[in-house]
């Protein structure tokens, strides 16, 4: 039996992805209808044309900007709410029912209501996504605030550490694992909701393009846009989230 983390798990990962591709090719061959499911290699020229014409980058960028806005707002508002709720039981008693209501409100309902009340504009779009994500961020950060070490806070108080130092060096490092967890699940969900928001009421972005090609029944272009944005989000995960997570873990000495 092989142990450790040698080539084995990596090989399995590659094989697994290849398997998915093979399933796609076989499926496309069996369908025998490129309108319904084109072969993977058919997408490359389409992707290249869309990229060179500039349409793809512009729409990717529009979506990415919305994702970043909604992410920053949801993490900020959800983080502060969650910390307050974990820190002060009274705040929690008042806000917990709200959290339950918003956690159970379907994303689609919030999106439609935002568009109806605020109008078909950027504010409504970003707000709808933010409102969808704030409750779950708050739930995770609340757990972090509850798990904080009272001894460290007593120490900070006795040594009269400044508010800034307390937040920067006592509170945030304790919350860091929870912030990372909220950020990862947040990122994963937010970009999918952004696509829906664009689908329903924006005139650019990946979601809008998918809406366009959906109406033209163009499966190939739907796949080009979807896969391009999946690639962008994977790049964010590897380039931003994972290095941040590693940095946060250094002191654990693992």
């Amino acid at each position: 039996m092989k142990t450790g983390r040698g080539l084995y798990p990596a090989a399995i990962k590659v094989l697994s992805v290849v398997g998915l591709l093979v399933a796609w090719v076989v499926g496309a061959a069996l369908t025998r209808d490129p309108m319904l499911l084109p072969q993977p290699w058919v997408l490359f020229p389409l992707f290249k044309a869309e990229l060179l014409s500039g349409v793809l980058p512009v729409n990717l960028w529009a979506t990415l900007v919305r994702v970043v806005w909604a992410f920053v707002l949801a993490m900020g508002v959800g983080g502060i709410l969650g910390y307050a709720m974990g820190r002060w039981e009274k705040v929690n008693r008042w806000l917990d029912p709200w959290l339950v209501v918003f956690l159970n409100l379907p994303a689609l309902v919030l999106i439609v209501l935002c568009y109806l009340w605020i109008g078909l504009n950027e504010t409504a779009a970003v707000l709808a996504v933010t409102l969808n994500k704030v409750p779950s961020v708050a739930t995770v950060i609340r757990e972090g605030a509850r798990a904080r070490d009272p001894d460290l806070e007593a120490m900070a108080q006795v040594f009269r550490m400044s508010a800034f130092r307390r937040i920067r060096h006592v509170v945030l490092p304790q919350l860091a694992p929870f912030i990372v967890a909220a950020a990862r699940s947040g990122m994963a969900v937010i970009w999918k909701i952004v696509l829906v928001v664009e689908f329903l009421g924006r005139s650019n972005g990946v979601g809008f393009q998918i809406h366009l090609y959906f109406q033209q029944f163009d499966v190939a272009m739907v796949l080009v846009y979807a896969l391009s944005f999946v690639a962008v989000m994977l790049a964010v995960e590897w380039a931003v989230l994972q290095p941040f997570e590693r940095r946060v873990r250094v002191w654990r000495g693992t």
Binding site: A154, M155, V158, F159, R160, W251
Partner: protein, 218 residues
């Protein structure tokens, strides 16, 4: 330096402390002795201002430092950063010197988890003394150390006390530690805990504080 008057401290429905009054002056080391669970740590937390839910009052100076039962270091900051971040206005050089003073010159960049418990305790001790407090509170600082490291720590504490001479309030369950470090001993006993009236008279500290110090040999 610090004057404590606790009329009553209730936790849940149980009264833990009643009528505990004492004062510690500069250069004095007051040991509070008592069995574990009697409320010594609670009393010390009241003295530190961490616990404010009690009846009575505490007059304490601005500059206060404490060595907790656990080392209570920031695990995500190196030993030297633990000093500079916690103690106001402490430079890196001064923090390194303070670590060298407790024998940790070569461990300054280590994270607390990479240090042994004895080493972590020494960082906590360096932090407390380097804060140059008027009043220093020690909560069982030598508990759960093996005999040799406890002996090292006590000797180190003695030396640091002699150097800086703050007013010290020292909580312990060990008669031997109290006898060795304290200039005065009071005892907590009963339920709710009160001060034992049969408190031991002053014993001479490491360095003779006054010409009237007398031997405590029976």
């Amino acid at each position: 330096m610090i004057r404590v008057e606790v009329e009553s401290k209730v936790q849940g429905s149980k009264e833990i402390l009643r009528d505990v009054r004492f004062q510690v002056d500069q250069g004095e080391v007051l040991a509070i002795l008592g069995p574990s669970g009697i409320g010594k740590s609670t009393l010390l937390r009241i003295c530190a201002g961490i616990d404010r839910r009690f009846q009575g009052r505490v007059e304490r100076p601005e500059r206060l430092a404490m060595v907790f039962q656990e080392p209570v270091l920031l695990p995500w900051r190196s030993a030297v950063d633990n000093l500079t971040l916690t103690v106001k206005g402490l430079t890196r050089e001064a923090a390194l010197a303070a670590l060298a003073r407790v024998g940790l010159a070569d461990r300054a960049e280590a994270y607390p988890r990479q240090l042994s418990l004895g080493q972590q305790r020494r960082v906590a001790l360096a932090r407390a003394f380097r804060a140059q407090p008027d009043v220093l509170l020690l909560d069982e600082p030598f508990a759960s150390l093996d005999r040799a490291s406890a002996e090292d720590m006590i000797a180190l504490t003695e030396a640091l006390i002699a150097e800086t001479r703050p007013a010290i309030l020292f909580v312990t369950h060990s008669e031997a530690e109290a006898a060795r470090l304290a200039t005065r001993i009071i005892r907590l006993s009963g339920q709710p805990a009160t001060l034992d009236s049969t408190s031991v008279p002053p014993v001479p500290p490491g360095a003779p504080p006054s010409p009237t110090a007398m031997e405590t040999a029976p």
